[in-house]
């Protein structure tokens, strides 16, 4: 209890990190629901890895063409954002384009993307020994190093994502649930698919920069997987997913702070715990429900 009071006090030294963590926890599940429903879960692994490759690539380019990048500089963060966003969006649009050509090999393509992105990340790191340690920190996500400026920027971008998701919820639902019907209704399905992918890409790239690929992937999938077992409407599914993500991030932060544990893995472990708990509850409910004669 003391930890919660301390964490919530206005002068808390890691306040920016806490806000960044909760923001990622709240917003990642909102795009994650579409990953789960459109059965693109593996994309949730591959895209954060692509964002990581983008960060490593942009810093390597800076090193090669501009010069050594100073640790913690503003240009550092901007380059990383640029690289993460470009690689994520490029990857997601390419995969979406290939998906239209045939669904048979979707998993294989996403698997290959993950493998290639992972390999590229390591290769880019190896080619940039000067900043390797610093880049490794960036790739892990620097939640604890979040500043007021970076949190404001993160909040602005993620707010824009949330507004777009709410404003165009019916279009995103229609193209996701019944793509053919959207075509029959004369909706611009390619545009809405592309916009949804864009929102996913932006959320993931900023999530990876703030919290790292592991935490981003965890928040993309674990809250929607738990919420799906508790809800029966699309709106409540999204709201409950986001709430689980936000609460999990807060509890994870408090636990990591209290017991001096690494933040990202703690948050992911707690998310997984929530999924297990909800699954067990659901199993119990079904087991105890009266069976029809």
């Amino acid at each position: 209890m003391n930890t919660v009071v301390e964490v919530l006090s206005p002068g808390f030294i890691l306040r920016d990190a806490l806000i960044a963590s909760v923001l990622v926890g709240l917003v990642c599940p909102l795009v994650g629901v579409y990953f789960v429903l459109r059965r693109m879960i593996f994309l949730g692994v591959a895209l954060p890895q692509l964002a990581a490759a983008g960060i490593a690539f942009s810093l390597l380019m800076h090193r090669m063409f501009v010069g050594p990048h100073p640790h913690g500089g503003a240009s550092d963060a901007m380059m990383a954002r640029l690289g993460a966003t470009a690689f994520t969006l490029g990857g997601i649009l390419l995969l979406a384009l290939l998906e239209r050509r045939g669904r048979e090999f979707v998993e294989a393509r996403i698997g290959m993307t993950f493998a290639i992105a992972g390999a590229l990340t390591i290769l880019f790191l190896a080619a940039d020994p000067w900043g390797e340690a610093h880049i490794v920190n960036l790739l892990k996500g620097e939640l604890l190093a979040a500043t007021e400026t970076s949190v404001v920027f993160l909040a602005a971008v993620l707010s824009a994502v949330v507004i777009a998701l709410i404003a165009f919820q019916k279009e995103f639902l229609l193209v996701s649930f019944d793509h053919d019907l959207a075509v029959v209704f004369g909706k611009r399905t390619t545009f809405w698919d592309a916009l949804l992918y864009l929102l996913c890409g932006v959320t993931i790239s900023f999530g990876v920069l703030a919290a790292g690929p592991l935490v981003t992937f965890g928040f993309l999938l674990a809250p929607p997987l738990a919420a799906r077992q508790m809800t029966r409407r699309m709106v409540t599914f999204s709201v409950v997913s986001s709430a689980i993500g936000g609460v999990t991030a807060f509890v994870g932060f408090c636990a990591a702070y209290r017991y001096d544990m690494p933040l990202g893995p703690t948050e992911v472990a707690i998310s997984a715990g929530v999924v297990l708990l909800v699954s067990a509850g659901d199993w119990l409910r079904r087991a105890l429900a009266p069976h029809p004669a």
């Binding site: 789960v36 059965r39 019916k170 053919d180 019907l181 909706k187």
Partner: protein, 230 residues
């Protein structure tokens, strides 16, 4: 008045033609069925008519403005993913999106239209039920309600009675027959179950060997049954 006109239409996938030189007219208020053996191209023709497949040659003309007077489309129900957490009402409400622009949300009018559509198919009591939990026949009727919520001038159905029991089939055909007879709704459906058409449909289009020919139900069936026997 002619509602839909196909002129010398060819349809296919990639370099593989399925149907060639199809001419077809559908009059307003008509109830027409596309019949034929499995794999003959019935669904391909239907996909061309609703705009899911572009013709490789010829033209498909819809006499009304598709925005002002959208099509009601009922797909084969297996194409819809039960993983989506949606109630029956939410699914039916989707039909009203046909007339809503991107910035407009479904309001009181759209909710009324969706509820009325559910009443038309006799399932208002299932509004809050999970869509994924419905039986095959109920799912099909909900999808018909969704198509009706678009307030269409033409209702197009792809195998609406496939894989469902006799009672549910009778209920579905009863709903379609009533909508056609009482409300003047034009209906076009694909089926391979000839029995369900008796007493409901007068004209059919027989699809076979890359072509499509229109005729009366009884004479078309007699001709093709005879051809199969011979």
């Amino acid at each position: 008045m002619c509602l839909l006109r196909l002129r010398d239409v060819s349809l296919g996938y990639g370099n593989r033609p399925v149907l060639e030189h199809v001419d077809l007219e559908l009059a307003r208020g008509e109830f027409l069925a596309l019949l034929g053996p499995n794999g003959a191209g019935k669904t391909t023709l239907l996909r061309g008519i609703v705009g899911l497949l572009a013709p490789t040659a010829g033209s498909i003309e819809y006499e009304l403005d598709r925005r002002a007077s959208p099509l009601g489309y009922v797909p084969q129900r297996e194409t819809l993913d039960p993983a989506f957490p949606l109630t029956v009402f939410e699914v039916v409400l989707m039909g009203t999106y046909a007339r809503l622009s991107a910035w407009r949300r479904a309001g009181a009018h759209q909710h009324r239209v969706a509820r009325h559509a559910l009443e038309l198919v006799g399932l208002p009591a299932l509004a809050d039920q999970r869509f994924a939990d419905l039986s095959g026949g109920q799912t099909q009727r909900v999808l018909i309600a969704r198509a009706l919520a678009a307030e269409p001038s033409l209702l197009v159905l792809d195998e609406p009675t496939a894989g469902i029991d006799a009672d549910a089939t009778a209920a579905i055909m009863g709903v379609l027959s009533r909508l056609n007879r009482d409300d003047g709704l034009t209906v076009l459906l694909v089926t391979h179950q000839v029995r369900v058409l008796q007493g409901v449909v007068k004209a059919v289009v027989w699809v076979q060997d890359g072509g499509a020919a229109r005729g009366g139900l009884e004479e078309t069936l007699a001709r093709h049954t005879m051809a199969a026997v011979l």
